[in-house]
Amino acid sequence: MSVVLQLWNITKSFGKTFAVKDVTIQVHEGTICGLIGADGAGKSTLLRIACGLIPPDTGSVQILNEELSKNLKRARQVIGYMPQRFSLYQDLSVEENIRFFAKLFRVHKKEREQLERKLYHFSKLEPFKHRRAGDLSGGMKQKLALSCTLMNDPKLLLLDEPTYGVDPISRQELWEILLELKRKGAAILVSTAYMDEAEKCDWIYGMHQGKMVLNGTKEKIVSQFQQKIFQVEDPTQQFSSLFELKKKLSGFFEIKQIFQFGNSLHIMLSNSLSENIIHFFHQNNLTYKEINIGISDAFFLQTKKQEIE
């Protein structure tokens, strides 16, 4: 498996704030790398640096072992970049958008017709090809944007939150397309705010305040954390809010960390549950169970560690 994208010690600041600080990333052929992190963590900046839209202050970007800044034009033939914001022409139809990008990528007519058929097939956009892009639903817009970036049959795909604002079914469909592309050998770097999407990736990078705080396969990342995690729920609503419960729980010294997860709390302990805590759970009709540590738990733990340091 050859390396398609290699970022070495990338740093970029805007004014006095660091957007990206000393980040190193590798993306191999036939793999999906997930880039997770909160809004403002520096994911979009990193992706823009990777496709040559923004030059880094320091560090180097290599695509297929060639320095990006020196071979920008050649690199653009192999990169497909999809910005977070919908960036196609809303007043042009689906077909017109696709053909426009095909022309810019200098795809020949025969090849283009083949590609179009293929793209329509997996995006299921064929029935809508005469509809204006601005009139499409959120999910269809994203599929169209992805189709346009696939017009040059890219070896490297850089996708900035492609599932942002997309319904669950379209989200599923988009990921199926990505997995299919991966099987065909594309190297994909995708940023996402959804942890379930991160778990589908072969390799995960986690960013926090511009720095890389997580790096590895899901298994490797999870295995770094030995803590036990319990999921605690409050089905009878003994507490006015989870926040109240969190405040109560933080009184127990064995509990090292508490995170809120949807309708439940994840608590991390230094060792096993003490009698005190179990008693407290029973007293308040709280349910609890031990769960495997997930990527999100690991990410939160790591960012907490980072902040303490």
């Binding site: 823009r48 496709c51 040559g52 839209l53 923004i54 030059p55 034009k73 653009r76 033939q77 990169i79 970049y81 999809m82 910005p83 914001r85 919908f86 960036s87 196609l88 022409y89 809303q90 007043d91 042009l92 017109e96 426009f100 990008f101 022309k103 810019l104 990528f105 200098r106 944007a145 346009c148 040059n152």
Partner: protein, 377 residues
């Protein structure tokens, strides 16, 4: 440079224009409508000036004098006055803008060969026309008194110096002939700059530029591709406006059509360059529109010699007028159309240099922004 990329951009741009009916309307109909409006509205000719007459003398002579004044249809009598009080009232109610008062002893005084005064009162609230009215009335009275003098002496051919003034290139001093070539210059620069300034700013504002920049297209290819459709629209505008000027406002075309087309093409390039420059410098469509208006409308209207002659401006403004493209183009249009002069090497050179400078500067600036990554939102 790859022509397929240029045509891809142009094709897309044409689709945008065709889909956006408002822009299309602004692009094609606005200059025509504005030319019609301005052409008829900015009319500095004097016609139908209302006159109130207070003839106290009621003599043969006084009537002859008045006939002479009213003869050429510049003036029409709207009031016959019988009292001084009616003069002020007439001005206030705007029944007339000029009052002519002929005193009682007018005929007698003339017969006695004395200096004979008559009074002309003009509404000075419009200073410009007051001046012209004054000149016109004095001319009539002068010619009357000259004739009277000759008949009195019974020698119609006495040697008097007789000024026979003629005005060339616009014999009847019609203002459309003077104004329309200037308006052509104004609307072309305005519409072209407006359209092109928005073209790139729109892509920046909507974020589509970011996607475009990750394709292998070059900055020059994109610029040229964007300029082509607007050049086409601008040429259509130029043709329409020139045709209207020629056939509706009867502006003569004494020089060669070919020369006019070549000079207009150079001028259009300058206008497109201005639009491009603005487009590169601003980030939103609205700002682009405002900037294009500010950069073209007032400077062209006031500092190009369109209405006010450059030679009568203060020195500082004269210097500023050098950088107004319309200044150089208006000289050409008036020269070609009214005087039949086809050779303007200096003006053409200056305009061409402006166009080259603007287009290269904006392309370079765009390139810099691209390199520094300033074009992402």
């Amino acid at each position: 440079m790859d022509f397929r990329s240029i045509f891809a951009i142009s094709h897309k741009e044409i689709l945008h224009i065709l889909r956006d009916k408002r822009t299309l309307f602004v692009a094609v109909a606005m200059p025509v409508m504005m030319l019609l409006l301005y052409g008829y509205a900015i009319d500095m000719d004097l016609k139908n000036i209302t006159v109130g007459i207070y003839d106290q003398d009621q003599s043969n002579h006084s009537r002859k004098l008045l006939e002479r004044v009213l003869a050429n249809q510049t003036f029409i009598q709207t009031a016959h006055l019988t009292h001084y009080n009616q003069i002020e009232q007439g001005f206030r109610t705007q029944t007339f803008r000029v009052a002519i008062i002929i005193p009682h002893q007018f005929a007698n005084s003339l017969a006695q060969k004395k200096q004979t005064p008559i009074q002309v009162i003009i509404d000075g609230s419009d200073a410009n026309s007051a001046n012209i009215i004054m000149n016109s009335i004095s001319a009539s009275i002068q010619s009357f008194s000259l004739e009277f003098f000759q008949t009195q002496l019974n020698t119609p051919n006495i040697p008097l110096i007789n000024i026979q003034s003629r005005i060339w290139f616009n014999e009847e001093l019609k203002s459309p002939i003077f104004i329309v070539p200037g308006l052509i210059a104004l609307f072309l620069v305005m519409v072209c700059a407006l359209l092109t300034s928005v073209a790139l700013a729109k892509e920046k504002e909507l974020g589509t530029l970011e996607q475009l920049l990750t394709t292998p297209i070059k900055a020059q290819e994109m610029m040229i591709g964007k300029l082509l459709p607007y050049t086409l629209i601008a040429s259509i505008d130029a043709t329409l406006v020139l045709l209207i000027g020629r056939y509706l406002f009867q502006v003569p075309l004494k020089g060669s059509v070919f020369a006019l087309v070549v000079y207009s093409a150079i001028y259009l390039l300058v206008a497109l360059g201005m639009g491009l420059m603005i487009s590169v410098l601003v980030k939103t469509q609205q700002l682009a529109l405002m900037s294009a208006l500010v950069a073209t409308l007032l400077p062209t209207l006031l500092l190009s010699g369109l209405i006010f002659p450059i030679s009568s401006m203060p020195k500082a403004l004269q210097v500023i007028s050098y950088i107004i493209p319309a200044r150089w183009y208006i000289e050409i249009v008036r020269g070609v159309m009214l005087k039949g002069i086809n050779w303007f090497p200096k003006n053409a050179f200056i305009l061409f240099s402006m166009a080259i400078l603007l287009i290269t500067m904006s392309t370079r600036k765009f390139h810099q922004q691209l390199k520094k990554g300033e074009l992402t939102t």
